[in-house]
Symmetry: C2
Subunit: 272 residues, 2 copies
C-alpha cells in the first residue's frame, strides 16, 4: 500500500467501523451528512494527498486543496480535522517527519489555511481574534507574522487536533499504541475509539455542547470499557442528542494511517 | 470528477446502497467478505483503472492488474465482474468506445484474462473446454486464435457480464436508463437494482443455485416493486440462503459509472 492509499484506507476504515458513539458510521447517518459523503471524500481527496506525499505545494495550500476537493458534495465538512493531521504526516513520511514539516510552516501556510475555512463551516470560539469568519483575521496573521504552527498553537487549548501540531502528535502516538493493543479490523478501531474517548476530552464536543457534556461522554465511554455500560444504547443516545466526538475521529484516522504503515492488520479475515 | 474517480465512486455507491437483496451492503457482510473488502478494492484498484483510462496496456493485462491489486486482502473476489465492464468502458471513454475496444481485443488479452482467474475463485460451468481450472484452456485459446471477445462470446449464454461484451452493453444501457428514471442517491440505486433483478435472470445465481432459484428471485423482486413483497424480509432470506445476485451488482456498477458522467446525481442532499 502506498502512503496515499494508507491515508484513504484510514479514512474508510474509521467511518465504516461501528458501533461508534455519536459519529457517522456504517449504521448511522446525520441528516445532511451520510456515510457516502465520508467515503466520497476519501476517494476525491486523492490529488491533495498525492501532493502532500510528493512534497508539492505548502502545507496550507495542500490543506486548502484537500478541503476544496471534498466539499464538492452536499454533505458539508467531513475530514477537515483529519486533513490537518494527515497532510503533515504524509509530507513528513511519519510522525518524526511531520514534526519537522509543521515546524517549517510559513505565514503563507497560515493564510491558505484560513482561506480553506471559507469553504466549510467550522465552529470557532466566540471573540477569538483569529475567528475565521472575521476578515481581519488575515491581517492579524500577516501583521503578527504568524506561521501555521503559530495558528495551531493559538488554538491548542480548545482544539485537540491543532494541539497535535505543537505537542509532537502525542494523541496520535497514543492512539497508535492503543490500536496495536486492540488488534485487527473494525473491532480494533472501535475499542481504540472508546479508549481514547474515555481518556481524552473531545474538544469538538466541548465546542458544541460544553465541558459538562464532554465530561459525561468520557465517563460513559469508561463505563462501557469496564463492562457496566451499553455501547448500542450510548450510541443511540449520542445520535439523538447530536453529540459527535468528531475530533476523536480525526485522531483515530491519523492513528490508523500510522499503524497501517507499522503492520497493523485492517483485515481480520487474513488471520483466520 | 475524472473517469477513474467515477469508477471508484460507482463501486462505492453500489456496495453502500441498501437494502439490496442478498448482496453485501451497508448493513450486511458475508462471513469472509465484508463491506470493508469492497471499499478497499475501490481504493486499491486505482492504478489499473488509471491504465484503463490512459490507454496503457491491453484490456486483458489491465484486467489482470485490477484483480491482482484487489486480491491483496482476505475477502476474496469482490469486483472481477465489475472490472470486466469498467475497464473497456474506461478505455473507450463510454459505451460506444467500449464496443470498439472489445472488438479490438486480442489473443494475448484472452490469455491474460485466464491468468487473472488464477488469482480468484470464479465459478465456471462443469465440462467447459475453457474451464479456468484446466491448464489446457490456455492451449485451446492459443490454438483457436481466440480473442478476449471470442472468450466472452463463448460464455454469453451463461454469464450476463460476458454477454455485455457481445451485445453492445445492452444491460448496462438499460440500467443507466433505469437509474436516471429512479432518481438520486442510494434510493435510486436500490430501485434500479430491484428493477434489473425483476427483469433479468442473474446468471451468478443460476450458477450457484440453479435456474429455479434465479427465477424465484426475479419473481420476488417484481413483487416488491409492485408493493406486494417485503424488501427487508426478502433481503434477510437471501442472506440466510446464500443467494447473491452478484452479476446484477456488476451491471449496476457499470451503469452508475456511465450515469455519473451523464449528470445522474449521487448526492440527494444537494437537491434539498
Amino acid at each position: 500500500m502506498t502512503p496515499v492509499e494508507r491515508a484513504q484506507m484510514a479514512m474508510m476504515l474509521e467511518v465504516t467501523a461501528y458501533p461508534k458513539p455519536g459519529n457517522v458510521d456504517r449504521c448511522h447517518d446525520y441528516k445532511r451528512t451520510r456515510l457516502e459523503h465520508f467515503l466520497a471524500s476519501a476517494i476525491l481527496a486523492r490529488p491533495a494527498l498525492e501532493k502532500a506525499a510528493g512534497g508539492e505545494g505548502g502545507l496550507g495550500e495542500v490543506l486548502r486543496e484537500s478541503v476544496r476537493l471534498t466539499t464538492v458534495h452536499g454533505g458539508g465538512n467531513t475530514h477537515f480535522g483529519a486533513f490537518i493531521l494527515l497532510i503533515p504526516l504524509l509530507r513528513g513520511g511519519g510522525i518524526d517527519g511531520a514534526i519537522r514539516a509543521v515546524e517549517s510552516s510559513t505565514v503563507d501556510d497560515a493564510l491558505d489555511f484560513y482561506r480553506a475555512f471559507s469553504l466549510v463551516k467550522v465552529r470557532m470560539l466566540p471573540g477569538d481574534p483569529l475567528d475565521v469568519s472575521d476578515p481581519r483575521a488575515l491581517d492579524t496573521i500577516r501583521e503578527g507574522g504568524m506561521t501555521l504552527l503559530d495558528v495551531m498553537a493559538h488554538s491548542k487549548e480548545h482544539d485537540m487536533v491543532a494541539r497535535e501540531w505543537v505537542n509532537g502528535f502525542a494523541l496520535t502516538r497514543k492512539a497508535v499504541g492503543l490500536l496495536h493493543g486492540a488488534g485487527c479490523g473494525r473491532e480494533g478501531v472501535v475499542e481504540t475509539f472508546l479508549r481514547l474517548l474515555a481518556a481524552e476530552t473531545d474538544t469538538f464536543i466541548v465546542k458544541e455542547h460544553g465541558p459538562a457534556v464532554a465530561g459525561e461522554v468520557r465517563r460513559r465511554a469508561g463505563e462501557i470499557l469496564s463492562g457496566s455500560g451499553d455501547l448500542a444504547a450510548f450510541d443511540a443516545e449520542c445520535i439523538a442528542r447530536g453529540i459527535n466526538p468528531g475530533s476523536t475521529a480525526d485522531i483515530i484516522i491519523a492513528a490508523i494511517f500510522i499503524a497501517l504503515g507499522e503492520g497493523w492488520e485492517w483485515d481480520c479475515s487474513r488471520k483466520e
